[in-house]
Symmetry: C2
Subunit: 336 residues, 2 copies
């Protein structure tokens, strides 16, 4: 290791220095028989049947924030994309793009968070890559994870499967990830502390699917928030989704922060939430499964699929109906 | 689409603008039933048996160069990592990190190259992601691809499988990718044009494995060049690899460019080369299979596994033996 404790361009060069960095800093915390072989491609066994496959890059700024960091996020985000597809996550790839001069101590903290989140999520890191770009060529560190999962037998969840009469549920308070990032970035304080909800949801989703195998669709409302995710479901399934404002789980801190900043909590990103759409007569079972899990204690039924026109409506506290637009772009860039 | 034809921060926001960019610019060129569903995770069928899984980020600078561009590279590099693991590539993920202000016309060219290379390699893009960072937050465009392949039945290739008595082959002239990037970046001209060898090798590797199923190891000599790749094999297999200088395939243009720049061609990156290590008595069959393929016309047997001490030796044209060191770091950052 170089003495300065910072990433050098040569760390990305495929030579001795890169191998030492990978061997000493990255692999020990993530060790498993597949990764340890450090072949060009990992050979993994995932049993039979269809696979789920997904990818996400993480460019969040700042990289450390209340409730998580880019490492935890890069595991949770990808695991959650597999989970909402009705899959049990199995293995992740892990690719770093690091700016020259980045502190190796920070990389170590990030790798430790990756290891911790992967263990909680029940996945292992199967393969990886590390690139270094010159000072100014990137902003600190970017991470990409791709994930492979096994589709749970008998499930057929899809964003296009929502049906009239379905109930719409969510596992807890919304908008916390986006607000946590915003507070951190802008140095805003709200009195009450708002932390990211960043969490791996595969365990809870597995419990929901065990209780209600005929869930129609699931979606994690990340960039674009609840409004963006409900719009995708409404458009793909060609249904009207009606959400009840008074049933939306929102903490007082979130509500006042959003008021203060002029934000609509429906459009703010989440990283530990899942929207579940299931037949109305199964909603209570799904809700019970959520509430039994640590990440679903404050779950709620928030609305229903009420028609066949592709739109999202909000029934306000006083009984009016408001059309919820698809957000145009994120309020805040580099949220994940 | 916005009228300016450049990427806006809002293109990465998970809202309507991002969906339009993905729908209009990216997906049409890469269309297939799996990708078109645009679910959070793709559901793919890869048959039975063990899978190969790999990831690579591409940060090459410049993004367009003689012989290829970052798009072609991002398919070939990942496909080749699967191929050298003895796997038939099946599906790729595709994740963009784009700097605000990047020209959409360039993105379109890159996506077209991705589509073309994927078709040639026999893979499809199954899932993707797009992030936008603010101006100065990244250098133009970075791409990550992760790849899934099916390990070809009966093959057991691994960097740790080289055995004494094995022959070492390569499918053609070395050092061309690295030199092409260097020329492009520094504006150097060598009279003769040197272009990147960037190519998807899965087809040729399949032919080699059909002819010689007991290939012991394969490796693509990218960052770190031939020297780096041979070192990895020597160290993992704990063998001595002896390479014959006079048998190394090197074009005159490469030789004089390396002389001029003071570079060792053994350490310069390739993107369309594969090192094959197989039992000595099967070397001719492997060589024939290579030569029958468009990417192996100039294949050569370049050396052999000659002992059990983990090192790489070069037998010079005059008969001496020189130890080849593992490169310390890449000569040139952002080569791939």
């Amino acid at each position: 290791m170089n003495k300065s404790g910072n990433i050098l361009l040569a760390h990305g060069g495929g030579g001795r220095l890169m191998h030492e960095l990978i061997r000493d800093v990255i692999v020990p915390r993530l060790s498993n028989p597949v990764l340890d072989s450090l072949e060009d491609a990992a050979v993994i066994d995932v049993g039979r049947g269809p696979l789920a496959f997904t990818t996400d890059s993480y460019v969040v700024k700042p990289i450390f924030f209340r409730g998580g960091n880019i490492g935890r996020l890069s595991v949770c985000g990808t695991v959650n994309d597999l989970a909402v597809q009705g899959a049990r996550p199995v293995a992740l790839s892990l690719a770093f793009i690091i700016e020259e001069g980045f502190e190796i101590a920070k990389l170590e903290k990030i790798v430790a968070s990756i290891a911790e989140a992967a263990e909680e999520a029940g996945v292992y890191i199967a393969t990886g890559d590390l690139k270094v770009v010159e000072n100014g060529g990137a902003d600190g560190i970017f991470i990409n994870t791709a994930g492979i999962g096994r589709v749970i037998e008998g499930t057929r969840v899809s964003s296009s499967n929502a049906r009239q009469g379905d109930a719409v549920l969510i596992n807890g308070p919304i908008a916390e990830h986006g607000l946590a990032i915003m507070c951190e970035r802008e140095g805003v304080e709200f009195g009450t502390e708002i932390g990211s909800d960043c969490a791996p949801l595969a365990g809870m989703v597995g419990e929901i699917l065990r209780a209600v195998p005929d869930v129609h669709c699931m979606k994690d409302p990340t960039r674009g928030g609840l409004a963006g995710a409900l719009h995708e479901i409404a458009e793909k399934s060609r249904v009207t989704i009606e959400v009840h404002e008074s049933d939306l789980p929102l903490t007082d801190a979130t509500r006042s922060a959003c008021d203060l900043l002029g934000l609509d909590p429906l459009s703010v990103a989440n990283e530990g939430k899942v929207i579940v759409v299931c037949p109305g007569n199964r909603a209570q079972k799904a809700l019970d499964a959520m509430k039994n899990h640590r990440y679903g204690r404050e779950a709620r039924i928030i609305g229903e699929v009420s028609g066949s026109r592709a739109e999202v409506l909000l029934r306000t506290a006083v009984g009016g109906l408001r059309i919820i637009d698809m957000p145009y772009g994120e309020l805040l860039p580099r949220i994940c």
